[in-house]
Amino acid sequence: MNSEKTSPPAPDGAWSPRIVAFFCNWCTYTAADLAGVSRLKYAPNARVIRLMCSGRVDPQFVLDAFARGADGVLIGGCHPGDCHYAEGNFKMLRRFQLLKRLLRDMGIEEPRLRLEWISAAEGEKVKAVINDMTARLKSLGPLGLPRQFAEWDSEVVKLTETIQEQETKEAEVTHAS
């Protein structure tokens, strides 16, 4: 919960969004690989985490990413009907629909969570999606949950310090008497 976990400044000093991207092994991660070997240039804002399937994306991962300072979470899976495990991407699609609503109710804007179907042949789409998401998050600004947590807890920290001071004083009085 410290400030260094929020988004780092870009080389020019301006804030730049941090995106945590969960890509499935069989389609989207392979597409990201393709984008790499094709030497496509795109925004450096996504930190990619490879999972075997988009169906493996536990909603806890998404909430934890936001809680630890992500400004956006991108999930990439195989197109419907193409899942290596037949049904995994449908599970993700269903979770995504309710997770979107839950995040909205918790004050996290809709563009911060995105689900995209990107096949192994669609390196161009990886580039387009990451560029587009980065641009949208830039206009939205930082989410900054770690900073918010610290702000919320300052009221508790202050009282704890006051109590500790009092206790030290009392202890001194007791020793003196």
């Binding site: 536990d58 909430l63 269903r94 629909q97 839950l102 918010q148 508790v156 704890t160």
Partner: protein
């Protein structure tokens, strides 16, 4: 005869149900009083804060503290009791996870105060008077505790040794916790004093849970005639059982009501709401977006349903943009 070990009971932001749970020990409470000396219990006995302050540090074997932490006074009492107790035990869902009071973390302090003191339909307060932490009355300074921005679980304020879960904890778990304390047979620090397995394992309806639950709609329990024997998930009702720790002996499913999650998650789960969302959604039958959305519309309030007892301890803790929400009415 050596002096009996001293214990304390205290309440913070709670409804009184946890105090009732202690009384629910019925005749067994006599056995408790026989071996323990209750040194502080504001709801039942006349001791004052000064009596607790006068105790040497760690003079209490244990304090069972219930209720969430909402005011500065509750924080001060939590610190004081922490200092005076060898074991501080978060007793009940509110102290353990934030409980129902922590659903207020969906609103800002300003929204809550404005609604309660100005906008509630039954209130007459034309001068818009609100309680102040400090005010003058007939030449005297009158003080009140600070109302905090955020509702917290006990361990978000002071270190906690053990947790007794439930809204409220059952007499059986309470007794087991007291016995474990007295005999010194305690699990590792930080443990929840209840079985570490999902409620489904204890549910009398377990045998009727289909291998593949498949939701074509979600039904609201108050609008549905429920089969008293069949798995509630198989009947299309949101039951928190799969994402909730057992130990209550499935009292709600036994009374033909779905589990609402008051025991919190097992030790392997960090966020109970995310986990039940994951489980319920994965088992929706529809495969197309419109069909999926239609089924999930049967869960109108995911935050209130999935985090009913634990918003304070969820990964997100509180609505993120409370400042922006301030302009909107709390109702």
């Amino acid at each position: 005869m050596p002096a009996k070990p001293k214990v304390a009971f205290y309440w913070c932001a709670s409804c009184g149900g946890c105090e009732e749970a202690v009384v629910d020990l019925a005749e067994d409470i006599l056995g408790v009083v026989e071996v323990l000396d209750i040194a502080f219990w504001p709801v039942a006995m006349d001791f004052k804060k000064a009596d607790v302050k006068a105790l040497p540090d760690q003079a209490l074997v244990a304090t069972l503290l219930n209720g969430a932490i909402r005011t500065s006074e509750q924080e001060e009492m939590a610190h004081l009791l922490r200092r005076k107790s060898q074991y501080l035990i978060a007793y009940g869902a509110c102290a353990h996870l934030g409980g129902i009071p922590s659903l207020a973390n969906q609103f800002s302090r300003e929204q809550l105060l404005r609604y309660v003191y100005e906008e509630t339909p039954t209130i007459a307060n034309e001068a818009k008077t609100r309680p102040l932490p400090s005010s003058q009355s007939n030449g005297n300074r009158v003080t009140l505790p600070e109302f905090r921005e955020v509702v917290r679980a006990l361990d978000q304020v002071v270190e906690v040794d053990y947790y007794v879960p439930g809204c409220p904890p059952t007499p059986k778990l309470t007794k087991a916790a007291v016995v474990a304390l007295l005999e010194g047979k305690l699990p590792p620090k930080g443990s929840v004093l209840a079985p570490d397995i999902a409620l489904c394992d204890q549910c009398p309806r377990k045998a009727t849970k289909p291998v593949d639950v498949s939701f074509t709609e979600f039904k609201r329990p108050h609008l549905t005639a429920l089969d008293p024997e069949k798995c509630l998930l198989a009947q299309g009702v949101v039951c928190m059982g799969p994402a909730t720790r057992g130990g209550c002996e499935a009292v709600c499913p036994a009374a033909n009501m779905p589990c609402t999650g008051c025991f919190g998650p097992t030790s392997r789960v960090r966020d109970q709401g995310a986990k039940i969302l994951s489980s319920l959604c994965a088992n929706v039958a529809a495969k197309d977006e419109a069909g999926i959305v239609k089924v999930l519309d049967g869960i109108p309030d995911p935050v209130g349903t999935f985090y009913r007892y634990g918003l304070a301890k969820s990964l997100l803790r509180r609505k993120a943009d409370v400042a922006a929400a301030e302009k909107m009415p709390a109702s």
